[in-house]
């Protein structure tokens, strides 16, 4: 049996996701931190075919801007021990979030940052946005004192655009004629498409430019490339803490927390983990979704049935670290995935 670290490396090799793996000390001047650590950096190449859709899950993160322990918290304002002028690290109009990295509760939780307020303060504090729908817990009431956190920039549509090699295709009228990112929201898939200037991102929701809209950690997308095939070269940092995923009722399009392959059980799909019988994991195969259903076999985990194989697929890798996957649940599940390697 492989160690967890060995397993992730095996999966990385198997899926050819992390072509470069280095240990890099993050620049000291970017950090106002009390705890020093090295971040694992690398990149993933995801082919984007010229026809059809491609499931994409971005598990690599933007570099940390601040990391340290929370020494105080007042409402949604946290004080990072030893930090100063945090606001100067943030760019107006860009989205940022804080993730709890310590293993004690509330480990793995993520909170969006009120950039304007943090820049105004420009001291050792970070003002969280208590109203963000992406928060995994209440920014106002969650006790963060004593926890260690990391501040990062969100992945945005603009970043995805800049990460694509190949010829971009834009159009101001319709996603039918442009490179497009599809997210799942409410009843179905909603497109955002690249504008004719190859910078803007349009939506059917409103007339706004969505280039700085967030593809949040754990949020999957489908990419529709037009014209010619391309490659999404995602560069970033491997998460160095447990990953929290919040799965809602009904369909939800998700992304893995780490650049490794996942079996359905490794995605948290088990009866003893809050998943109900008939829960589903769906993976886009290029022409449609492959459906895997959790059944009861008398065990505490349950048996995953892909509708084809006579044997359960509990140990079959269904999702790569750069792929997205859908869940369909009848009740919500909050899952904390233990970091699959050791420092």
């Amino acid at each position: 049996m492989l160690s967890e670290e060995g397993e992730i490396k095996k999966n990385m090799k198997k899926t050819n996701l992390l072509a470069v793996l280095t240990l890099a000390a993050t620049p000291a001047f970017l950090h106002a931190q009390t705890t020093s650590y090295s971040e694992i950096v690398g990149y993933q190449n995801t082919d984007l075919p010229s026809t059809g859709y491609k499931g994409v899950g971005i598990s690599l993160l933007n570099p940390s801007l601040v990391s340290g322990s929370v020494s105080a918290k007042s409402s949604a304002v946290i004080t990072v021990s030893g930090a100063s002028t945090i606001g100067s690290l943030l760019q107006t109009g860009q989205p940022y979030y804080v993730e709890v990295t310590s293993t004690n509760s509330p480990s793995g939780n993520r909170f969006d940052v009120d950039v304007v307020a943090t820049k105004v303060s420009n001291n050792g504090t970070i003002t969280l946005d208590p109203n963000s729908v992406r928060n995994t817990a209440s920014a106002a009431s969650t006790d963060l004192v004593g926890s260690t956190i990391v501040l990062r920039k969100h992945v945005t549509l603009d970043q995805i655009r800049a990460s694509i090699t190949g010829t971009l295709v834009g159009n101001d009228d319709s996603p039918t004629y442009a490179d497009a990112v599809y997210v799942f929201r409410g009843a179905g898939f909603v497109p955002y498409w690249l504008g004719a200037d190859l910078q803007s991102w349009w939506s059917n929701d409103d007339p706004d430019d969505h280039r700085f809209d967030v593809i949040a950690p754990g949020q999957g997308i489908l990419f529709r490339k037009r014209g010619s095939q391309g490659t999404l070269v995602s560069t970033g940092v491997v998460r160095n803490n447990d990953f929290l995923s919040v799965l809602g009722v009904g369909y939800q399009l998700n992304a893995p927390g780490y650049p490794k392959g996942y079996t359905p059980v490794q995605l948290g799909g088990a009866l003893n983990n809050g998943w109900n019988v008939n829960s589903q994991i769906l993976v886009y195969s290029g022409t449609g979704f492959t459906i895997n259903t959790l059944t009861s076999d008398g065990t505490s985990v349950g048996a995953w049935d892909n509708g084809v194989d006579p044997d359960p697929v509990n140990d079959v890798v269904l999702v790569g670290g750069d792929n997205s996957f859908m869940t369909k649940l009848s009740s919500p599940v909050v899952d904390l995935e233990t970091k699959p390697f050791s420092n």
């Binding site: 179905g188 007339p207 369909y251 993976v283 194989d309 079959v316």
Partner: protein, 248 residues
């Protein structure tokens, strides 16, 4: 490991169907979008204020500018829109809010999009004078005739925090337009098919307030049909459906 897994077929085409020479096709769709065809449709509301993809930029001094608004959806309960019942249009309508695009080469175009899923449930529904989603989940039944309500003023907030739409009372100008091809298709949550309707030559103005004309490259359509005209239109729709059923 056997990688073969059950595949759910998507985008089941319902077959090509030509309506009134417009070349419209029916597909199994998740997203139904309505958009003004670039540079082909000009809409005049009350006094000739013009919206056109060719030159209107909402930030200019053109009166209609940002005040142009649209809803795309369907009337419920057999409601028939007329001038006299204009104040009840929204109360008998389920759909989504559209908008006037402000950026890129399509600035000034009207656009609305409905994303529907299982049970024909739609994203971000609006009905009556409520805000988006305020009425909870809504759905649009399969094959419902779709309409666009277009008016030249923004909502007026009412005392309860909602929005008021009463063209008769407020003196707004508004029009209801539709097209025989604007039919709510079957939808499913995992369906990625999109279907684009056009606010173009096939568009029919059912009812309106003020001097409302739709102009499409010289084609001017009357906006205020008498009841008999409306009846003929609905009969026409019925015959279209009958033809389609025979074809399928």
């Amino acid at each position: 490991m056997n990688p073969v897994q059950q595949t759910k077929s998507l985008a089941a085409l319902c077959g090509m169907f030509v309506l009134l020479g417009g070349g419209l096709s029916r597909v199994h769709a998740t997203t139904v979008a309505l958009a003004e065809s670039t540079g082909t449709v000009e809409i005049y509301l009350a006094g000739g204020t013009q919206v056109s993809a060719t030159y209107v930029v909402p930030s200019t001094s053109l009166a209609i500018g940002n005040n142009m608004a649209m809803r795309f959806g369907t009337f419920t309960g057999g409601f028939t829109p007329t001038i006299s019942n204009a104040s009840s249009w929204f109360n008998n309508f389920v759909g989504v809010n559209g908008f006037l695009t402000v950026g890129g080469t399509s600035a000034g175009r009207l656009s609305a999009s409905i994303t529907a899923g299982d049970g024909q449930a739609i994203n971000a529904p609006v009905s009556a004078n409520s805000g988006v989603g305020a009425d909870g989940s809504k759905s649009i039944v399969l094959n419902a005739q779709m309409y666009a309500i277009i008016w030249n003023s923004t909502f007026v907030s009412n005392t309860s925090g909602g929005n008021t739409f009463n063209p008769t009372a407020t003196g707004l100008q508004a029009v209801v337009v539709t097209n025989p091809g604007w039919i709510m298709p079957s939808s499913a949550s995992l369906d990625l098919t999109a279907f684009n309707y056009a606010l173009s030559s096939g568009t029919v103005a059912l009812s309106g307030l003020g001097s409302v004309d739709l102009v499409n490259k010289g084609l001017t359509m009357a906006v205020i049909p008498e009841p008999s005209t409306l009846t003929l239109f609905l009969l026409g729709l019925s015959s279209v459906f009958a033809v389609r059923r025979r074809c399928s």
